[in-house]
Symmetry: C2
Subunit: 142 residues, 2 copies
């Protein structure tokens, strides 16, 4: 049984108060985890209906691992648990923002606090771009 | 010619300083736009290589519209232009965070400042969830 009703018409989708997440062809919806304390983006992952339901039940972020093709209770083995503070959805309910309390010293498997540790720093000759490591917890010229 | 080199090995991907975005099977990468001033998430959309290149060239967010299947220079007609302040990428370079200065009074086609104007407010009897309209610019109990 699917816990989430199928998306309704445009008005229900945009102005309704029933959560009808719109999963894509692979049954997934992107979820951006943001640190509820610092408001810094932590990671972007995906949830299917089952992992979203588990997230709601447990109060901890549960994703769908696209590489391992399995339910991924974040931090269950690493200790990098994400306690859910607030979940937002957007106008057409096909994207989620999950504000979390990040436990375990960070979310990234590289050992960093968050996965977005590099920023575009300049253009390459081919029209692409070069990156630089950003200073933690600063937006802009940091 | 693709402005972005193909993704390298794991070390280059995670620790390198060449921007090698990893586009999915549809040629897209998700991009979360965040207000650089308030740090509030604005919208989640997708970029293909061309729109990402245009974003870098113009200094304004350009997306790929999945519904219209065309390049979408955000705000070009509505005035809701997003001036790019900073672009971050994650460890495996398959997601972007775009900090922007949001012009035109907001980003959402519903007339709201941002698209994430509802949050999960409680569980439904079926195991799903109910939403509530959130107060703008507050995380938590707002």
């Amino acid at each position: 049984m699917n816990a989430f009703p199928p998306p309704g018409d445009k008005k229900q989708l945009e102005e309704g108060l029933v959560f009808t997440p719109k999963f894509d062809a692979d049954g997934l919806v992107p979820a951006m985890a943001i640190d509820a304390a610092t408001k810094e983006p932590l990671m972007l992952a995906y949830m299917n209906a089952e992992s979203l339901k588990l997230t709601l039940e447990l109060g901890e972020a549960v994703y769908w691992s696209r590489s391992r093709k399995e339910i991924w209770h974040k931090g269950k083995t690493s200790g990098q648990v994400q306690k859910v503070v607030e979940i937002r959805t957007d106008c057409d309910q096909d994207a989620l923002v999950v504000y979390v309390e990040q436990l375990g010293g960070g979310c990234c498997h590289t050992g960093r606090n968050d996965c977005f540790y590099r920023k575009v720093a300049g253009r390459s000759e081919e029209g692409g771009a070069l990156l630089s490591f950003r200073e933690a917890h600063k937006v802009g010229n940091g």
